[in-house]
Amino acid sequence: MIKEPGLDARPKKIIADNKKREQKFNFCKAVLLDIFLVFYSLIVIQRAIYYKFILDIRDIPFAWSQIWIVLFISIIIGSLWAFTKTSLSCNLFGVAKDCKTTKLTTEIFGWVLFDITFIAGWIVTKISIVDLFSKDGIEGAQRIFGALFQPEMSIFDDVVFATIETIYLALIATLISIPFTLIISFFTARNLMKDNKISFAIYYILRIVLNFVRSIEPVIWAIIFSVWVGIGPYAGMIALLVHSIASNAKLYSEAIEGIEDGPVEAITATGANKIQVVWYGVVPQIILPFLSFTIYRWDINVRMATVIGLVGGGGIGTMLMQYQGLAKWHEVGLIVLVIAFVVWVMDYISAKIREAIY
């Protein structure tokens, strides 16, 4: 008893349509990338290599009209480029047909782009061997290093108390961040949010916001909050809190994205609702990674708290900045030693705890 395989036309058409649409979309992307690559090379060659290096101008003249002209040229060259066999982006997006010319030109243009970037980077950084080995410079370095290794012990009590303040500040920031991070991380996990359009929009917006918050360094948050709530440990704590939430939410949600799908599928199959699936299928799998990330974050926060102190976030960092401002290098030496010791101990403890958990 055989059933004749009845293939109707629709599924085949769906496949063909999908393929065509993807090809078109990829070609559009390739054209845009080609334009960008040409634009990038022209701008870098003109500004970094021509003006700065060949003409050696200190203040490079800036005019929008120039930029527009370069952009116009690169749009023309780039879009023409995309139609030739030599296009780099067509190869990258898999639009180009497999042939020798494309492979060769991809290699060549890849190297050209890399070289331009490297040379421009070298010029912009002002790398100079002479400065590193100048006589004055080395003498200054010797003076400071000498002082750092003869720490002034009379301020030991104050340093210890400031350090404890820093540790507590980091701890509170970490603890308060936990509930916020937990809630946010579920909404920024792709595998939980991709099913319908509204939840995917929420996922997308939250991701952008978190990326933005995370890209601002805690030091800058500390400056903002020291204006907002006044200089001191409180401002430092909020700065760390904000950064902890944004960073840990990413780690947490990645842990959620990395779970085994099996239990989730099995529980979905029983007819459980979304919240039940998350609670029974997802949560048991992520408790340990969450705990581990949180302990690690405390460790990171202690290190960051010292840096934040430099801009008025309280604790040991503020103290370090005060003595450094007065050029009292022996006191600074003691503070640096204590910080190094605390960071080492925290690192050790948090590693041990995380090992014990798993």
């Binding site: 008893m1 055989i2 059933k3 395989p5 009845g6 293939l7 109707d8 629709r10 599924p11 769906i14 496949i15 999908n18 393929k19 085994e260 099996g262 239990p263 599928e265 099995a266 529980i267 979905t268 199959a269 029983t270 007819g271 459980a272 609702n273 919240i275 039940q276 609670w279 029974y280 299928g281 048991p284 799998q285 408790i287």
Partner: protein, 254 residues
Amino acid sequence: MTLLRIQNLHKIYKNGTHALKGVSFEVEEGEFLVIIGLSGSGKSTLLRCVNRLIEPTTGTIEFLGKDITHIKGEELRSVKKQIGMVFQQFNLIKRRSVLSNVIVGRLGSMKTLDSIFERFPDSIYDEAKKCLETVGIEEKADVRADSLSGGQQQRVAIARSLMQNPKLLLADEPVASLDPATSNSVMQYFEKINKELGTTVVCNLHFLSLVRRYATRVIALKAGEIVYQGNPLEIDEDWFKTIYGDEAEEVEIR
């Protein structure tokens, strides 16, 4: 009575794979239907389309005379509640006890808050224990699920699906990661459920010896199409080669 009717079912994955190419068949109540075929022939996709873990591309699926191909939300969940499923990898919650894994089978009929705070009525515990008795591991109720052996874990998974009082039990290669002896004992529990509780079973299997012993009817899939439908005992050498390719040879497991 016809429990499940599938007509001209197609599934095309996003990457372009055409996994099912117009599959049509019916499942009568009380049957033990086994689906065979090579890996990648579309067996798992077919089972997952039945309880809508995967969205079929075109075609219709009727369950108990009702079209369930495109239902959503609450309606879909109520259909899922009536269809149990057992997986190759058992898919238990590893860190929880066996008993709470079995209770998971009943989540669909519980209020969300009650299930989160685990406020289960006593009757549920009794039922869960009864389900564990059916598969013969009631003494392991309080053990962590990941401390059990493979065969025991699969029995817990069966107990979990029994908790749903399913009309239809789907099994996706339930014995593929077990040794031959354990495979047989796990299959016996499926037979028991099929015969004693009258639950219809649709099962993916690899080994023909198991198929001949347990199936009442066989469907063979090849590259997403049905190539054989009928009595398991009638699969001879020629059919075997048609289904599994000319290179294949039957291996006997005992």
